[in-house]
């Protein structure tokens, strides 16, 4: 559903941008950024659902995360941190 909303908003943003006359730059920016946030939000929501289910399984199994699971989380965090900080924004 959220992906559809995002596509809808992107289409509106494109249509507004194509319209001649009037100062619509700010509105286009808002709509397009909103659409991107919805897209990101959809992916994040799916990931959070999967993570919640994984933690619930841990609880049901009566176990704590393994060292390998903790190491995987740390490795991904390091990777994403480097990815974010290496972007040069002009």
């Amino acid at each position: 559903m959220f992906a559809s909303i995002a596509q809808f908003l992107l289409a509106i943003g494109t249509a507004v941008a194509a319209r001649k006359g009037g100062d619509t730059a700010d509105l286009v920016e808002i709509i397009n950024l909103g659409a991107k946030l919805l897209e990101v939000g959809t992916e994040g929501r799916i990931a959070l659902e999967a993570l919640t289910q994984k933690v619930q399984r841990m609880v049901q199994e009566g176990r704590d995360p393994t060292e390998a699971e903790m190491a995987d989380v740390k490795a991904l965090r390091d990777l994403l941190h480097t990815r974010i900080q290496s972007v040069v924004i002009e």
Binding site: K36, L37, G44, R45, L48, V59, V73, H81, I89
Partner: protein, 144 residues
């Protein structure tokens, strides 16, 4: 988000922008129902849930920072917040490792309960800081 009063927009466009805000609010409310941290019971599960939840946000943050169509101030803001919040999660995991060592030492009779009490309080403190770090990163990835 820019206030409507500063925008030169007509009635239909204003309605579209309002619809967008409503959609964003609905998305945020849906996200709040996904809570791995609330599902966790033990300290280890909670630390894992916090760290992994943070990674989900980091993934979203990375996409936004790399997207050249997102306004530069928003991207810089995300970079700035991330630089401050990731060390908090690193410290949470380091504190948890210390807590685990002391717990094992206590079980082996090599240390006292007072040491574990201190480690537990320290861990609780970093869990609170990590929760705040997640809120801070979520704020810049979702609302800017």
């Amino acid at each position: 988000m820019l206030p409507f009063s500063k925008l030169n927009i007509g009635g239909a466009q204003r309605l579209i922008a309002i619809a967008l805000l409503v959609a964003l609010v609905l998305t945020l409310q849906a996200c709040e129902t996904m809570n791995p941290v609330a599902a966790a019971e033990t300290p280890a599960q909670k630390v894992y849930a916090l760290s992994a939840t943070y990674n989900v946000l980091l993934g979203s943050a990375a996409e936004l920072v790399e997207d050249t169509t997102v306004p530069a101030p928003v991207r810089r803001g995300i970079q700035s917040v991330e630089a401050a919040t990731t060390p908090v999660i690193d410290e949470l995991e380091r504190t948890f490792a210390e807590y685990q060592v002391i717990r094992l030492q206590l079980a082996a009779g090599e240390t006292g309960q007072d040491k574990l009490d201190i480690a537990t309080a320290n861990l609780d403190s970093w869990i609170s800081k990590a929760e705040q770090a997640i809120r801070n990163l979520a704020a810049v990835t979702r609302r800017n």
